[in-house]
């Protein structure tokens, strides 16, 4: 099982690749995903990659509750426990 910091790093890597952000990007838990540059379609892609990489299924309700980077980390932590 991955630690929270490993999850943070993994999700940051996904976003850096998807959004072509600088490699050294650090995201805090209260960063709004919208502010990072994820529009509605970007969010769908981000979540689709998480589902694939972590082998989890994310319900529509969980998906709709995501707004910050911390929400995403917490969700993946819960689903992979």
């Amino acid at each position: 099982m991955r630690t929270v910091s490993q999850l943070e790093q993994a999700l940051t890597t996904i976003l850096v690749r998807q959004l072509r952000l600088p490699e050294e990007t650090i995201l805090s838990h209260d960063t709004l995903l919208e502010d990072v540059g994820l529009d509605s379609l970007g969010m769908l892609s981000f979540i689709a990659v998480i589902e694939r990489d972590f082998g989890v299924g994310i319900s529509d309700r969980d998906y709709e509750s995501l707004s910050t980077f911390g929400d995403a980390v917490a969700l993946v932590e819960r689903l992979t426990q």
Binding site: L41, L44, S45, A48
Partner: protein
Amino acid sequence: MTRDIVVTGLGVVSPIGNGVVAFEGALLAGRPNVTSVEIFDAAPYRTRIAQTVCAGLRGPGDPAIAFALTAAEEAISHAGLSVTMLPGCGVAMATTAAGWTATPHLFESFRRDAKPAASYSPEELFKEAVLFAVASCFDLHGPSALLSPACAAASSAIAWAAQRIHDGDAEVMLAGAADALTEVVFAGFHAMRLLADDACRPFSASRRGLVLSEGAAILVLESESHARDRGATILARLTGYGFSCDAAHPTTPGSDGVLRAMTSALNDAALAPGALDQVSAHGTGSPANDAAEAHAIATLLGDRLPDVPVTAIKGTTGHTEGAAGAFGALAAVLSLQHDALPPLAGYTETDPSLPPLRLTLNNPQPHPGRNVLVNASGFGGANAALLFEKLAPPRPAQHMPTRRAVITACAALTARDGTLPPPGEAPFWPGSHSLPLDRIAGLVMSGAARLLGPASAPQIDPEAAVVLGTSYGSQARHESMWAALASDGPRAVDPNDFALSTFNAPGSAVASAYGYGGANLVFVGATAGATAIEESSRLITSGRARRVLTGAYEEVTPYFQRLLASLGECDAAEAVCLLAIEDEASAQSRGATALASILGHTACAPAVMWPDAEDLLASMRAALARAAIQPRDIGAVTLDPHANTREAQRSAIATLFPGSVTLIDLVPIYCNCLAASAPLAMKVTLDAAAVGRWPQDAVLRGDPAFPPGRPVLINTCGLMSGCVTLVVQPHARV
């Protein structure tokens, strides 16, 4: 619109009932027919419901074709059309998913280098088959087109057909759409998280998404004088239509775009918003669509918001994808005919975040209204609105602006020109940080940049349109979806692939980048590039646009290449060829040179799979007649590149031009660029006019010197696409 167009027949196949009577009964009862999906294994999906047509009507091949034929037969019968009238009729159809029942299986065999488990006919593999089936079955030879601007496709087809009647190209047109539920589309909407898990609930606070559906809806449109002369029962009048593009996000609907389409339709009918008696909303039940549309309707209606009923039939019919606008139109005509508003099925509670629309809750409501507006919107920000009127005394003719359309620029990206960038480029969608453009959309954007300069934060121009043609759309996106679904199941389907799989996606990218907020149309098939050019010219002459970016794009993958080879076609080639067409006065005022204009055109429906000499001859003769010139006036003829039509073309040309005429063959230059062939023929013509000579390797016969001042005839024809002929007059350069 100045020439009155009426609806005289309706036909429908739907999950809630087959035939107009059964359909209307279920619609007025607000009785959807949501069931568990059975046509594929829905177990891996979060949502497992849909609405499907009864098994007995699905037919042996592509169900969309069976639906279309059944609905067309009913519409023709309902209109009381005799067999002798049919050959003069035209047909405009729309679809988004036709061909996608069989194609993913054939593609999977190709990808695995395995023998296909079944053999498939072209009718199962090409979207054009929907158009071809209706035209050939009912022997229709009039103007024809297949449109696929996502879920605004059917309304666009109806509008296209109406314009042909308005302009006197035909007296009667069949117009509508057919789509069948396919796993690929279901998986795509699933990846987009747009599917409801219990019911479609338009405008309700409880709405969770759409319920996918299928079927066909077809209207018989007719000039009012023709309908009256033959004593037909007139069901309603089509008084206007409007197109728009959000020119913003590829999938999130924008209220400004919807508003522009509605306003454009009202302007077309010279009607104030206050005269509306009903709005039939697109109303998919998705949170974003309904919010954008509700705000647009509220802005449009203003003070009359509390008075004008708003309904959305998808709570009952489900979302019939590309056919949605035809279902809305059919329901609107029925509501005018029988003075009854269908209830808003699925609605449970008020959404306080939405403007207070007067929704048609509860049971069917008697409503002797007169004017109904029908909305349709699709991915890529494509919107189309139709306006129907309860039969009333004929309307006074309106004065429409008279504009001339001229071609002012042309650019091509082809292997021959060395203008194709290396593979693998992934530019970003303008305004978004997260959405990479695929190669073909990137090529279309590159072509646009050659004509329009670099894109910069644009003002939306409602009189600027993008109208393109293509044979197979964004094929790499489609193949990516098919492969992901086949290999790893629905969770592997990339939402970007689905969002950008619609055939209007490349055009929408351009519209977003350059603020082209007018029509966003895409035609499908081998003749689609020529149809797009012709429609662009007409959008300008009819006062619906001032400038149009038109042309065609073709993305040729190895799979598509093999598919064409199996049909005996020569090598196909990737190409984008775009033209700028604009209002002559606007071009003059900005100092642009008018390079050419279109003198005449014709489009003949695909009565046979590959057009024969008779079809081609009829097409060329009609185009020359429209241009009011004789065959001897033509300076050169360009051939369509399809190998299967070469003999027919030679025969028809020999008959029409018994002396000799210069023949221009683009195959040695470009191979077969399919729908892009007509725009490329236009480019070659413009280039030849500029330098006074045809390219040496393109002259199949005749004089390589370009005949100054003489028009050129551009022929296009192809599989299940009929013939489209353009007569182009290059202008003398000053």
